[in-house]
Symmetry: C2
Subunit: 625 residues, 2 copies
């Protein structure tokens, strides 16, 4: 592979780019210094992109560094989060962190200058470090600015070349083109070296350009170390015509001859002696402070909220919780202009179509691209919206890594997985969410809700728009009787005792969603057999209602948990963990989906999995003291 032909750091003396050149060198020096001080980090991946960031920061990024919350600010997303030394060097150049913090704190315990950027820093919108995600978030931010807020802010994203192998990148560019996000500029730092050696395409920038154009965006190929060329490219990129990817041919380790374009230097701090020589070659420690272009500050129009008027459902009527979810979204939409809804081309099944019809401007079709659906949601949340992103529970697993990272980003958003469990019937296992409770419970700070009826679903849907962090609502395909009167309240962490509750109860049946109805049927049969059962609707799976469960365990001496989910990580283990934490695990039975389901009716599926009333009754009878 030939080395890049452009001479390094050519600065036309008439270009006025001398300061930008000095800034770029300072960024490199600081990236080297902080990583060497920490003993780890990615200086060479920072150095390849330093010229791009220097031009951006000095001449294009409209950002008030003293006021990161300014709604007129542009956004900058470091999708290649491992280039954090470069980002933090920019913060120093902006005058918002000082040299001491940069050199002492980077990658240290308790520091905000973590190995990969997170929003504990006020100038960082989203956590990155899982590659291929930053661009997707940026699409969400750009969408909010352009389609919802109608503000002039731009979104700039720095990507590495290795991460362009992630399919999620192409989902993101597709959406950027579809929604005509002319306020989005991606800077792809094509330094040709990944973690393990040469990337798939090296410096073949044409491949990237062809792909970008095929996905509907504009591609500008540039020598990423020619400051004037980069400046021109960014000017063009931000002309408001089309989402644009600036494909910059760069050199890893640029500026330090000993490591330039050399394999084996990914993710390694320079040893102290090499770092010293590097700083010298780069022109020594810099003290530039850069203000850069400033945003036009315009106060956003206040978003007026009205009280939510939830849909009302008649007790006993059969309503699918997914249908109630759709109606509740419409009610939320009427009350709250910040509520937005996303779907992955299954809106007529998930009932988000109801919202799309009522509020088409706040509904964003993400097609069958669940990763981007999550990324868009995160980006919308960054701009203060309350996204509700929905698909089949099974297909949310597609976006697991994005959900995980959304928790690290500490954004607030609501997910809904429909068609959970074997309950769906004939479509078979590919469409059954049987792992989603485990996935969503294990997300840091998450809330997991699984209502058994339409009233609870509507109430919890409204609640989710108020919760911090990632919340998840699990809904069911089929229609079941409404259990609760309109107006009933469903606090997070609560539960409902639907049968029994007194001293005579000899066994507790705990269900959620469809299994609540099976538990009720089982309780009726048990009653006829002289075994009074307490039935608990554990609609709040995380946090689970430890107090009510512990009391039931103590009072009845036997608990049976029934769930339409694999036995691992779901309601059963949530209940067990809660009981164990208070030291009162009674005789315990756990019915869950242990088979590999096939097709069949709902009743047949519940029976085959052993989670129907037929299975509950003998187990409960056997455990009842």
């Amino acid at each position: 592979m030939a080395a890049p032909t452009a001479p390094a750091h050519r600065v036309d003396p008439d270009s006025g780019l001398d300061d930008v050149f000095r800034l770029a060198q300072q960024l490199r020096v600081d990236a080297v210094r902080c990583s060497t001080a920490a003993g780890s980090g990615h200086p060479t991946s920072s150095m390849s992109a330093a010229d791009l960031m220097a031009v951006l920061m000095a001449r294009h990024l409209r950002y008030d560094w003293q006021d990161p919350g300014n709604p007129g600010n542009d956004h900058l997303v470091f999708s290649k989060g491992h280039a954090s030394p470069l980002l933090y060097a920019m913060f120093r150049a902006a005058g918002v962190i000082d040299e001491r913090e940069l050199l002492k704190d980077y990658r240290q315990a308790g520091s905000r200058l973590q190995g990969h950027p997170t929003p504990v820093l006020p100038w960082v919108d989203v956590a990155t470090g899982s590659l291929g995600q930053g661009l997707g978030y940026a699409v969400g931010i750009a969408l909010a600015l352009r389609k919802l807020e109608r503000r002039p802010g731009r979104v700039w994203v720095l990507c590495g070349d290795s991460e362009l192998a992630e399919g999620s990148v192409w989902e993101a560019l597709d959406k950027a083109a579809h929604y005509e996000l002319d306020n989005l500029v991606v800077l792809a730092d094509v330094n040709r070296l990944g973690q393990c050696g040469p990337t798939e395409f090296g410096w073949d920038t044409d491949v990237y350009a062809r792909r970008v154009e095929a996905f509907g965006c504009r591609a500008l190929v540039v020598d990423g170390h020619n400051l004037a060329a980069v400046d021109d490219a960014l000017t063009t990129a931000a002309d408001g015509r089309q989402p644009t990817v600036v494909i910059a041919r760069t050199v890893k380790g640029k500026g330090v001859s000993e490591i330039e374009d050399a394999d084996g230097w990914h993710g390694k701090a320079l040893p102290e002696d090499l770092a010293e020589r590097a700083v010298e070659e780069l022109g020594g420690v810099g003290q530039l402070t850069v203000r850069g272009p400033q945003p036009e500050t315009e106060a956003p129009a206040p978003r007026r909220r009205r009280p939510v008027e939830l849909p009302r459902f008649e007790v006993g009527k059969e309503v699918a919780t997914r249908a109630a979810y759709g109606k509740a979204l419409v009610a939320l939409g009427a009350a709250r202009p910040d509520v937005v809804v996303l779907d992955a081309e299954v809106g007529n099944s998930t009932h988000t179509q109801d919202f799309e019809e009522a509020y088409p401007d706040r509904f964003f079709q993400q097609w069958i691209a669940e990763q981007q659906m999550l990324a868009t949601a995160v980006g919308l949340a960054v701009r203060g919206f309350r996204p509700h992103a929905t698909t089949f529970a099974a297909f949310l697993t597609r976006a697991h890594d994005f959900i995980r990272m959304a928790a690290v980003s500490q954004v607030s958003l609501a997910l809904c997985g429909t068609h959970c469990g074997v309950e769906i019937g004939a479509d078979g296992p590919s469409q059954m969410g049987l792992e989603d409770l485990a996935m969503m419970r294990s997300i840091h700070g998450s809330t997991v809700l699984y209502p058994a009826d339409a009233t609870a679903t509507a109430a919890l849907t409204a609640t989710m728009a108020e919760l911090d962090g990632i919340s998840y609502l699990r809904t069911t395909r089929g229609s079941y009787p409404v259990l609760y009167e309109p107006g009933e309240s469903f606090p997070v962490g609560g539960s409902k005792v639907l049968r029994g509750g007194g001293a005579e109860d000899r066994v507790t049946l705990v269900g959620a969603g469809v299994t609540v109805h099976e538990c009720l049927r089982a309780a009726d049969r048990l009653a006829r057999r002289g075994v009074p059962a307490r039935v608990i609707d554990a609609y709040s799976v995380k946090p689970v209602d430890a107090r009510t469960l512990a009391r039931a365990a103590r009072e009845t001496g036997a608990v049976v948990v029934v769930e339409d989910h694999h036995p691992e990580g779901g309601l059963g283990e949530a209940v067990l963990a809660a009981l164990a934490a208070v030291g009162s695990v009674p005789a315990f039975g756990h019915l869950a989906v242990r088979n590999l389901p096939g097709s069949g009716s709902t009743a047949e599926q519940l029976a085959a999995a052993g989670i129907s009333a037929d299975a509950i009754v003998p187990l409960a009878e056997g455990l009842a003291p």
Copy 2:
């Protein structure tokens, strides 16, 4: 959007395609009949692709329907698995299922003709139904045929147009081009209507063609109802020059005028009266049986196995389990020619690079495309290889949906997630696998292993190549003392008692991986404080060693589980579930990662999460009776 211009079903009388036309109509009739009989299914999505499949089956697919295990057979993957009525109609036309089974069993409980195809059918290699996956599997199968077996078989994939929105599709095509899989032919059924209405691009086949070509594959655009044109396209596609995507413009519901190209008919069986009219319009019930081209049968060279000579590690020496994994893979590779290894461009961190260096022909770089890494593994497993696919534990979440579906496909493959937990230190939360145990435990039929030392890692790595289903090995970044002598055996479902074991033990400490070492340190301190502790290395997380744990619970009366994972769905809940199942939950303590970590050293991270010996000692002391 204009309707397609080509007249429907034009068959040149000289083309010899009359039989193919009749076959196509028969496939449509049977798709209509079986879905109407079942009351659900996707007849219209089947009818758009019927001409493609008729041409393929009659003239191109080399397949011995009587011998689906014939290694010379081509492969056919229905990525649009919802078109199962079409696939099952093909089985009837091949004479391998009869009319009675098709009409009576489709989508019924206990039937092999499920709503979406799974390998309970001998002619189905992989389960589909989660869209965007089938093409990826096909890439894996084609890779095995071309690069490992060097056989002439081809792989044909039927995709829908909606699923081309999944990024995973582009990861797949990228790999097809990279590995020059000229034996791969994709048939994209562009019927312009998705589940919710028009797709993003409708009949704009040029968009798809540009994307396919940008990703390095050949695109052939064709009228998918012109049998001669389709025949020509498939002939060209299979010329062995390049992976090819035949982009077929088709009409949803083709052949039945009442529903052709009509919105609102996705996933709906025709009502009986409409079905009757449809069958009539399509020419009535057909009775064709098609043999099609036959494979050249050539017995595969037997793969000779030698006993595995595991690497040996000296007790007390500090070795990272990820490093032991790399060495074990090399040992496995020497013994077993069926073992193949995949990585997502982190092989120098995961140590799969050791295998790459030793057996470059059996190592397949998947770049940073975890979904395709899983899909390739599934495809290789279909051809009888034993794939070991590896990346950071955190990034395996990216492939969750593929792992879930691999279990439904009932293939056997081994996964390894490295850099688990907060143990990794300074890189921060984006790189920490803290949800992987919950994810992997919840996979149907999975085995989850988490060794504490190099000896156990090597033994378990070898064991994984013998296990049925999906197995998962969790490894650690840092180096820790070897605990076990070479030759020690580590049965799945077992555990090791590393301290105590007698009647005097007053508390049990259960760890896995890095926390075993913390438990040992804690036990030493507890011993000095007069509290004898039993320490259990629960290297087998699923199945967990219920017997040893229950005995310890009974004998010590107190159990503390310590894990480097979020509290939900991991080792703690696995232990609890096992104890509850045998009715002996003692006083129980659970230390897990409940904070949102930042950067810091390993020791600082373990301390901040409260999973170090410092946290274990007081909890254990408090619980000990």
